[in-house]
Amino acid sequence: MSKSLTTEHVTLILGDGASEVTALDDVCFEIDAGEMVAVLGPSGAGKSSLLAVCGGLRTPTSGRISIDGVDINQASGSERTKIRRERIGFVFQQSNLVPSLTSVDQLLLLVHLRGRRPGATDRERAMRLLDEVGIADKANRRPGELSGGERQRVGIARAFMSEPKILLVDEPTSMLDRNRGRQIVELLARECHEHSVATLMVTHDHSILDLADRVLEISDGRLAEATTIDTAVNA
């Protein structure tokens, strides 16, 4: 079985001259379909850079990234946009919803982005996803009328709407209290296994690491298998 997300010797250097910073340093890893990998690290360690290059938002200085067998470094700007639209699901920090759209429209927007007018089947699918994350009753509310946890759930449902190959999750618990944060990651893990999507979750929250299938640690742009997982969980 092929790997859903593969990075080979990915290096990202930001800035130039004196202010040059190596954000990612020779990063290599693979994620299988249906596997949830957590990347742990303090702020400034390169977590966001990792998401940015995997999501095609930044081109690495060197190295190769492939999503479901497609090399995104070779792709042009508009092809990368298409790859994001069709193969990548994002769950952002603070949920990041469009303020004018209701929960169900947040999901249907992805259908529209693909150039299709959302139909009855799309609506059914969106409602089923909202039901899976437990907020079907808030389908017609706008983000301003939802709590932080509810917004995060809409964000998760949206990420699965376009049937992505990989899911990139950015600090899903940062805006939530401990209990709600844990519930959200449990939900993510369940959805990731159910929809068989390779999931890369960056976080600095040790308390949710036990929910991941595998934990990697990043510091100063270098990625390594976590060896101190037990201590981390107990911390």
Partner: protein, 377 residues
Amino acid sequence: MFIAIRDLTYARGRFLLMGIVVSLVSFLVIMLSGLSAGLVKANISGLMALPATHIAFEYTDHPGYRNTMVERYMWEGWVGQAGVKRVEPMGHTVFNARSAADQPLEIALWGLMPDSIIEPMVTRGEQLGELENGVIISGGLADEGIEVGDMITLDRVLTELVVVGIMEEVRTIGHVPIIYAPLRKWQEATYGPPGGPPPGESLPDIVFDFVSVIMLQLEEGTAIEALDDQNETLTLDRLKFYSASTGYDAEVQSVQLIQWLLFVISAVVIGAFFSIWTIQRTNEIGLVKALGASNGYLVRDSLSQAFFLVGAGTLVGMGLAIWLGIAAEGSEMPFMLETSTLITAMAALMVAGMIGAGMSVNRITSIDPIIALGRVQ
């Protein structure tokens, strides 16, 4: 339009405010168009009604109706030339006058040949010809209460004119209402001595050899310059002979300047609105890009929103202007609306608005989707 439509209802307060601004600008543009057309009509309706393709003036660098004198040989020189269908010498003099009720009037006396095609059809009374001092008055004067059979006396020269016919339509030149008179009477009044010829005598023949301009009907391709050279005249086509009316160019230009300013203002206001609106939506646009929206998708979305806003605003303002314009049409205010002016004004406003909205396109395309990750890279 997926997001655009939902934004319109979500941020309806902001869009309503902006819509009102667009409506007011559109209202002003239409009112000014009507006013400008009305002013033109009030200034030169007499010239507009002329069945002429051209008017020949005495040769000069600055043609005007008040300072032109055309001699008999000049108009006779035009008669019978190739492409010349009709030649009519015509007199124009502005007089102060008094009505029978001793009301002061400012009038333009036009002298016409017998059976002239310039002579308007009266709506009351008779055509010219019966009385040697019988005249036809036009709408503006009829509104002053002057009736068929009334006497009008020209100041200084003391020529007495009798109203034989009235045409209801307003006919003016330089905002002055026109009185149509027989050419000989006009020549007497303009070139004769005050009070007319002494009793028992007639005016010298030379008085009847002068008019102001020559009204011409020319075919396409007539050798105008050669005929002008030959006859010492200066021939102007319709647009240019309107401009020869005092104040016409200045009036039209000042109203047009205001209109242009309004188009620029609407472009800038709409541009500013969409720039700020785009800045407010920076995070949202970055997010939607990260989700896989192309620049084209977002630009189309934004421009369709602008099109809706500008279109709806323009229509509302236009409706308001037409409604008020209809009310104003019967009043003293010179106001005239034509479908072509309306469509032109609306199109120009839409174009100006879309140019304004287009100014934020660059802002949309330059947003980096990485901002969706929430941290500065």
